[in-house]
């Protein structure tokens, strides 16, 4: 996991190109292929992709915050949270008759599960991947007992709202676009956001700079849990609550975050990029179904693309992402840079 990012990171500074364009470019490419193959419904394809993508975007935004918190941070409990929040929100909504209460209940469940992870991470110094794994196991147990003999049905009003598409633009996509903007603003304009990015770049330095690292970490996991809970609440209304509602969202959420341009080693979040990558994934699924490829081909394609993008973009110049490919300037021997920067302590 390169948890300890080998020695120095050779970033060229804060001017980082536009790492988010690649997800959108890939999505556009897949869309074009669909258009060529089916010969119709170009606009509608986008519209339908936009009605599926928001779910992946919400959970992806949460995962993005966690990943931004620095090396080793990952939330593997999102899938269990989604499934559990689905049941709880549907139950709460049908008990109270209010969809809003249902959504809040879903978010609350996410926060609760994330609180378990947070306590384990901060209190017991359990590595995040294990802490969230354990919290996820607990959540999935609760899901199973809830699912047993579950009687409530999703709120019809909420479902109708999720399916609303005036002029072909899903209302949910608009709402989540606003949420994305809010997350971006959170990262740029708030003390918490700046603290998170600082912690992600260099935890020790952030701590010495007076950033309350523990509080920032806790907030981040709780936010991720809340967003996963929100995803679960919406998905359950859109599809139906089920015990495996969130299963495929774990790997996909990590993948969209990375393809979207967020640094996997932390310290740089790209909220817009999550959209591009999510659309790419959704359209890719559509394409595979349209062409009639098997799931084998679908997985090969997905994995191959992730690896291709990753190795092409490389990490030697982590700041540039893919963009660095095209302005390949001779790097002053990576090895020597490393030597000097690490050896900088010789000073004095």
């Amino acid at each position: 996991m390169n948890i300890r990012v080998a020695g120095p990171r050779s970033w060229s500074g804060p001017r980082n190109g536009a790492p988010w364009v690649w997800g959108f470019a890939a999505a556009a490419l897949v869309w074009l292929v669909i258009l060529v193959i089916s010969g119709q419904g170009g606009g509608q394809t986008v519209s339908l992709a936009l009605s599926l993508a928001p779910y992946l975007v919400i959970v992806g935004l949460g995962q993005m915050l966690v990943v931004t918190a620095g090396p080793g941070n990952i939330d593997v409990s999102v899938s269990s949270i989604i499934s559990l929040a689905g049941f709880v929100s549907v139950a709460a909504a049908s008990a109270t008759g209010s969809a809003a209460v249902g959504i809040l209940a879903g978010i609350g469940v996410g926060v609760l599960v994330a609180a378990v992870s947070t306590v384990a991470i901060l209190g017991l110094s359990v590595p995040p991947i294990i802490a969230t794994l354990a919290a996820g196991l607990v959540a999935s147990s609760i899901t199973l007992s809830t699912a047993n003999g579950f009687t409530a049905v999703p709120d019809a009003g909420l479902r109708a709202a999720l399916n609303l598409r005036p002029a072909g633009v899903p209302v949910l996509a608009l709402a989540i676009a606003v949420l994305t903007v809010l997350v971006a603003a959170l990262l740029r304009r708030t003390v918490y956001g700046r603290s998170l990015v600082a912690v992600g770049q260099n935890r020790r330095a952030a701590e010495r700079a007076g950033v309350p690292v523990a509080r920032v970490t806790a907030t981040t996991y709780l936010l991720s849990g809340a967003l996963a809970g929100l995803t679960g609440a919406l998905l359950a209304a859109y599809i139906a609550p089920s015990a495996d509602l969130g299963t495929r969202y774990l790997l996909d959420s990590v993948a969209v975050v990375v393809i979207g341009g967020t640094l996997i080693s932390g310290g740089r979040a790209v909220p817009v990029g999550v959209w591009g990558a999510a659309l790419f994934f959704i359209l890719l699924d559509g394409l595979v179904n349209l062409v009639g490829w098997s799931t084998a081909a679908q997985n090969l394609l997905k994995g191959g693309l992730v690896l291709f993008v990753l190795f092409l973009a490389g990490g030697g110049d982590r700041s540039g992402g893919l963009a660095s490919l095209f302005r390949r300037r001779p790097r002053p021997a990576a090895a020597t840079t490393t030597t000097t920067i690490t050896g900088d302590d010789t000073d004095g």
């Binding site: 509608q44 199973l144 399916n163 089920s242 179904n289 349209l290």
Partner: protein, 346 residues
Amino acid sequence: GSGGSGDTAAADGAASGGDGGGKPFIALSNGFIGNGWRQTMIAKFEAAAQQAKSDGLIGKYKVVNAPGDNSATEQVAQIKSLLLQKPDALLIDPASPTALQPVIQQACNSGVKVVVFDSAIDAPCAHVLQNSFVDWATYAAKPLLEGIGGKGSVIVSRGVVGSQPEAEMLDTTKKILGDYPGVKTVATVTGMCDGATAQKAVLGVLSSVPKVDGVIGCGDGYGVAQAFATAGKTVPAVDFETNGRALSYWRDNKIDNGSVAVMSDPGQSVAALWEALDLLDGKDVPKQMTFPIVLIEQKDRDAWASVLKPDEYAAWPWTRDLFRQQVEAVKTGGKPVQPPIPSAQG
């Protein structure tokens, strides 16, 4: 949900030999508990086993579900630890049709009667109760194609692509489609017999296909209907799940276009219990038996819908008598038994 076990007395644990005075100890190992069908299957078994226990037919029973995703490795471990407890009969709903072969052989070798249900399995020593996938595919396609008048365009939503049952079902579906030259297949998607997956898969292709009159699926109609609702199109004829949620949706939205609900029978676990008891009694039971699929047509829909919880699947209420009738039917090659619809009873 009730507890996973019903011990009579902890003391007689390992000692309860089946042939002696002790009453038999029945264990059920289930490879996966993550969906409503499996949960219904377990619930039906537990109810029947509890009843059998109070009727004095069995001494104790135990249900073990492998945690996590459909993981054969977990189930192998679970079965091995079950064997330590020396059950008289072991019922298995396998996570995978092959993975359990060695451990089943091991169980047989230690004198345990093994009944595998819900899936064919390649274990010569076990007794197998399986579904008729040809029937399933036929029920899923025929009424639907009749319902749309034998012409128009359909989407085929395949199940777990590559699995033996899916191959069998796809063959049947193709054969039936061949009988309807007026019907055009405009897309084939992979729905995995799962509403959520099918919903996303169908939504992914909806914009790229012309008007759709029907979707031939395998118990994923609720999700497919949602996809059409999302796309703002009228819901075509689909194959619904046999659970309360799908049936109520079907009823409440008045989708009277030839849709049916068809799935395998979660009551098989009860049938498997009766088979195990018969085997322990030394009765002659065929090694392989095919049990009927649950088909709910529009006429029976409301009756079923009224007795099922949203996540509960329609199950045939096997009694020991019904089971024995079915065994006879299988032996003689007669017509399969048609158990009553629960609502008729109460």
